[in-house]
Symmetry: C2
Subunit: 403 residues, 2 copies
């Protein structure tokens, strides 16, 4: 595994998690007055907006429960998870049982449940909480929500879809990717044939429709007939997303002993790193166009925190499973970039947004889109994987390292 | 009027319009095969996507018809306008009479009419075309569309709104701003009490609800009761939008001889320039937060073409109406920045997108959001206003210079 000191790397990620990120969010995010989490946090942790995104509530419940289940049975973490789980139970759903997108500080609804991604993260949060607290209502509600997601699957935005039903209907990568992750998570807590089938179908869809070996890319939008028109939508690449998805695939296929699928996912990880890496200024681009044109999203060339934390843990998982040496080189490169760019030595926590050239564009630590999720999850996975690599080099066997 | 050579400035804007922008779009955008306009144009004018945004069709019809009506009765321009007007008539509307958001090259619908802004620009395009071509169907359809907009006014996104009806309902600045512009346009072509009342109500709403003299700012989102919560939404500033709106107000108030409202709008223009100008790297920011925090939009600090072309013509209109000397200083500053930043000397046309520090992020000349509209409209207005200023200094009287 090259010259990397894996034990020291494990210590660095552990310290980042337990001495920086977790204390920062425990100190600033828990809303003891109204329940749930305040996640719009400024650089110093002060709250700059009290609205609550439902998916951020679900993610934060998950992360605190996960720490309790995976790291240590600290009462403080379980209580933090309970604060969010109870808020979700009380204020989270509309009359139909779909989860709101946004509520105010007191839990009053502000935006309807216009897609299924709030619901997915609520399933993750409540099921992990159920395992931590032994409260069966949370697992029941998670399973009920997952079944509603499946029923809404073919039109996940429901009546809010702006597509013309008879026109081309692209299918996005996000749905099977998150479904695979959620099915792995639920399968560990409440295994069933139903859950296993959902996970298998999601993995197969990703690898058959989005993973494209001929073009050496993972595409975000694919049409139902397998085609991908030569349009900006059809050409869209999201390196961070693709890399995160390949980690879920590696994890599931590794656990099943499916070495062929693991290798295909590792190949795709390497394609997307090579495509996504900015050779001029370092860091991973946010969006790319397969044809080499600037994507329409104005922020395409920005450097965000989460593609980097996802790449780091995907690389360690790949290394753990296959031992391919170029993975360690990529890990070193992205590790160096990440640690010199994102942590805030002054106030703690990690920044999220930099322009292409590395100028910070936002000071915030939390927002509608950045919460207690990618950084702590990534640090936890890297810590555990580096520890495993330090102890025993990759032997091709899997273990549930990705959640 | 300082040391500026207004006659030379008028010549520069006229040449930019007639020798660069109009030939570029005439050469590359007309879809003689399927009708309408191809507006996704790459740096060299090649078409990079054949989808057609309905609002871009409406804007381009308007601009070609406007050139025909205001500059010269060139048959080529009228034909270009007809190409878009006929496409709108054939493919533009759904069964209810609302205009689609997006259609494919052949006119097949791809996105439903989920807000009223497509409709607004269609009203502008068809009414200007009616005046150019003398075709009454176009004016009838414009008026019918305007009446539908008014009926949909309280819920302009219709069933696609993601707001909870009983929650706070912010009202955005875009609606009265575009309504004012459209009412001025229609009032010149088909004057009526109905149109005049719509324009008057829009102007009053902008100046009473969005223009805030105590805070010296024009706010984008205001609640129905006049409040503006201390949230990112309530604090949002869009300098380019505010400046464009103040130009519409100046134009309408100037024509009515309402010098008090003209002065208030000029004040606001100057506040928003002072707030919006990037003192470190020049150029106008895209979004700002009234409280000084980076806005949530990742692209907030980018420099886009349209706030600059809007600022230039707003400044000349203000100068023409009031003669205040600081307006000429601002004009000089933004003129210098704009002409050194946006034109493409190699392939013609203007670029649209730069990062805060002036690095170009996109090469395209046209997209879903950039078409044949802000640049030619701004150049035309500046040419005409500079000519007027060159000939006769501002005397406080109005004329319909803004459309």
């Amino acid at each position: 595994m090259g010259d990397l000191n894996w034990a020291a790397i494990a210590r660095q990620y552990r310290a980042g998690l337990l001495e920086d990120i977790v204390p920062f969010w425990l100190r600033h995010s828990l809303d003891r007055q109204c329940g749930g989490y305040l996640h719009h946090l400024d650089r110093d942790g002060s709250v700059w907006c009290t609205d609550k995104m439902m998916w951020m509530q679900g993610r934060e419940v998950w992360m605190f429960a996960r720490l309790y289940n995976m790291v240590e049975r600290r009462e403080e973490w379980l209580e933090a998870a309970r604060l969010g789980a109870d808020f979700l139970r009380r204020y989270g759903r509309d009359q139909d049982g779909d989860w709101f997108f946004l509520v105010d500080r007191e839990g009053g609804p502000k935006r309807v449940a216009y897609n299924v991604f709030s619901d997915f993260f609520v399933v993750m949060g409540l099921s992990e909480y159920a395992a931590a607290a032994g409260e069966s209502w949370a697992l029941d509600l998670a399973l009920e929500t997952l079944r509603r997601i499946v029923r809404r699957r073919l039109n996940p935005k429901g009546r809010y879809s702006k597509l013309i039903p008879r026109a081309d209907l692209p299918r996005d990568h996000a749905f099977p990717m998150i479904m695979l992750n959620v099915a792995r998570q639920l399968g560990a807590i409440a295994p069933s044939d139903e859950i296993e089938a959902l996970g298998r179908a999601a993995l197969e869809r990703i690898m058959r429709m989005h993973h494209d070996a001929a073009r050496r890319a993972v595409f975000e939008n694919v049409w139902d007939d397998g085609s991908r028109p030569d349009t900006p939508e059809g050409r869209l690449l999201n390196p961070g997303h693709a890399i995160e998805s390949m980690a879920f695939v590696m994890d599931a296929a590794g656990a099943d002993g499916d070495a062929g699928t693991v290798e295909s996912a590792v190949d795709a990880l390497l394609w997307m790193l090579a495509r996504g890496w900015d050779r001029d200024f370092d860091g991973l681009f946010y969006f790319l166009d397969f044809g080499g044109r600037p994507p329409e999203a104005l922020e395409w060339s920005m450097k965000l925190w989460w593609p980097h934390t996802e790449a780091l843990n995907a690389l360690l998982l790949a290394l753990r499973l296959t031992g391919r040496p170029e993975l360690a080189e990529w890990f070193q490169r992205i590790h160096d970039y990440t640690w010199r760019t994102f942590p805030d030595p002054e106030h703690g926590g990690w920044f999220g947004y930099f322009d292409r050239r590395g100028n910070r564009t936002h000071d915030l630590k939390g927002s509608k889109w950045k919460g207690f999720f990618h950084v702590p999850r990534g640090l936890l996975r890297c810590w555990r994987l580096a520890d495993e690599i330090a102890g025993r080099p990759g032997d091709g066997s899997g273990s549930q390292l990705v959640d």
